[in-house]
């Protein structure tokens, strides 16, 4: 079981690095200019929504990963 936990830790670490890449490469440069001085608030709001969707996707991936790793460990 312990090796499964180390695997799960490592998988979480990889997901964090990938998540960071998505944040920086896709989410970071995103901007809107046509709303005057409030453009940064609207852009931030959209970023918040996308970030929350990403968090939900990450949690689902982790749940699946957790079930897969630990079922594999228990069966071995």
């Amino acid at each position: 079981m312990k090796s499964g936990l180390y695997g799960f830790l490592f998988a979480m670490w990889v997901l964090i690095i990938i998540g960071g890449g998505i944040m920086v490469v896709l989410l970071g440069p995103f901007s809107i200019q046509q709303f005057g001085e409030f453009h940064w608030i609207i852009a931030s709001g959209i970023k918040v929504v996308i970030a929350l969707i990403l968090v939900v996707i990450w949690i689902l991936i982790l749940s699946k990963l957790k079930n897969w790793i630990f079922k594999k460990e228990l069966n071995s």
Binding site: K2, L5, L9, I17, G20, A51
Partner: protein
């Protein structure tokens, strides 16, 4: 460099020795007042006093005030105010059992001084890819981060010495990462957390003489969260905390709601005849880190504690690798 070394040494010595010398009298006072709870993992009716939070917060506040005398940074004020507020929240929960939402909601309010003092940078730094500027999202991150780190450390405080021992590993890892990133002042501000945890571990390790209680665990977790924010090492801090994060994640994903541990009826762990810990087959019980560690077979409380420490060292190594990766850009 000498102007950094002297405050660092003074604050670390103060943090360590204040907790080291004030915890035994605190144990005596708590024993006299009969503020004790049963140690569920001991054979006989062993009663352990709690909370150890008062000595922990004293060590942190005194050492940080001394550092403020040297550096006059708003970041230090944020550490002192938010950590003290977390201690008060934990102490209220120690004295009177509050609902499941009390701690997350009040810890979110405790995070506000970080925003009011402007002790943060809204750039979120990621390894390999660089920074992303998220001004509005970052405010939400601050408000969420303190309840998460506070409750995460609180949720791992299930066995003798685990919360304080885990905090020693995670906080020294965070300090090392801050030094690697050449954020020397915040690295020094973070050091007292490791030394306070180390001094408290002496009395909390198996067999415990005192439990940190909610006031101690929330103080540890909140200070860790503030350091992560003011040091701009949120991602590294989350990685160093991963075993405790997994514990919270497993708990929440199995229970599917925010609830106090004491409100859960199903037992994740039971005892064998020789009082080793053993995972139960109770399907209503939450999945926890300890339960998963025990899935391979019964272990003593000490063995489970060391298994958690090994996981903490592994995630600490990943955090240090991440700190080095911060300097690399794809």
């Amino acid at each position: 460099m000498i102007e950094l070394i002297i405050p660092a040494i003074i604050s670390c010595l103060l943090a360590f020795f204040i907790v080291y010398f004030t915890t035994p009298p605190l144990i005596k006072i708590l024993t006299k007042k009969n503020y004790a709870v049963k140690d569920m993992n001991k054979k006989n009716n062993v009663m352990i006093v709690r909370p150890g939070g008062p000595s922990i917060i004293l060590g942190i506040v005194v050492s940080e005030i001394v550092l403020y005398g040297f550096f006059q940074l708003n970041e230090i004020l944020a550490v002192i105010i938010t950590t003290s507020a977390a201690f008060v929240i934990g102490y209220i929960d120690d004295r009177k059992v509050m609902g499941g939402w009390f701690k997350p909601a009040t810890l979110a309010i405790a995070a506000l001084p970080i925003i009011f003092l402007g002790a943060y940078d809204s750039n979120l730094a990621f390894p390999l890819f660089g920074d992303v500027q998220i001004p509005l999202l970052y405010l939400g991150l601050i408000v969420f981060m303190i309840p998460i780190t506070g409750n995460t450390i609180n949720s791992i405080d299930v066995l003798n010495g685990v919360a304080s021992g885990f905090m020693v590993i995670a906080s020294f890892t965070l300090s090392i990462c801050l030094f690697i990133l050449q954020n020397y002042e915040i690295a020094i501000v973070s050091l007292p957390l490791g030394f306070v945890s180390l001094a408290f571990y002496k009395y909390h390790k198996i067999p415990s003489k005192i439990f940190p209680g909610d006031s101690g665990a929330l103080t540890f977790g909140a200070m860790y969260g503030v350091i992560a924010i003011v040091g701009g090492v949120e991602i590294i801090a989350a990685i160093a905390l991963l075993p405790a994060v997994i514990n919270s994640f497993l708990f929440l994903s199995s229970v599917k709601r925010v609830v106090e541990h004491r409100q859960i009826k199903g037992k994740p762990v039971e005892h064998t005849d020789d009082f080793k810990l053993k995972a139960t087959n109770d399907k209503t019980a939450p999945v926890t880190l300890v339960r998963l560690i025990l899935a391979g077979g019964p272990l003593t409380e000490k063995q489970v504690g060391f298994a958690i420490f090994k996981l903490a060292i592994f995630s600490g190594a990943l955090a240090i690798i991440t700190a080095f990766m911060m300097g690399v850009s794809l």
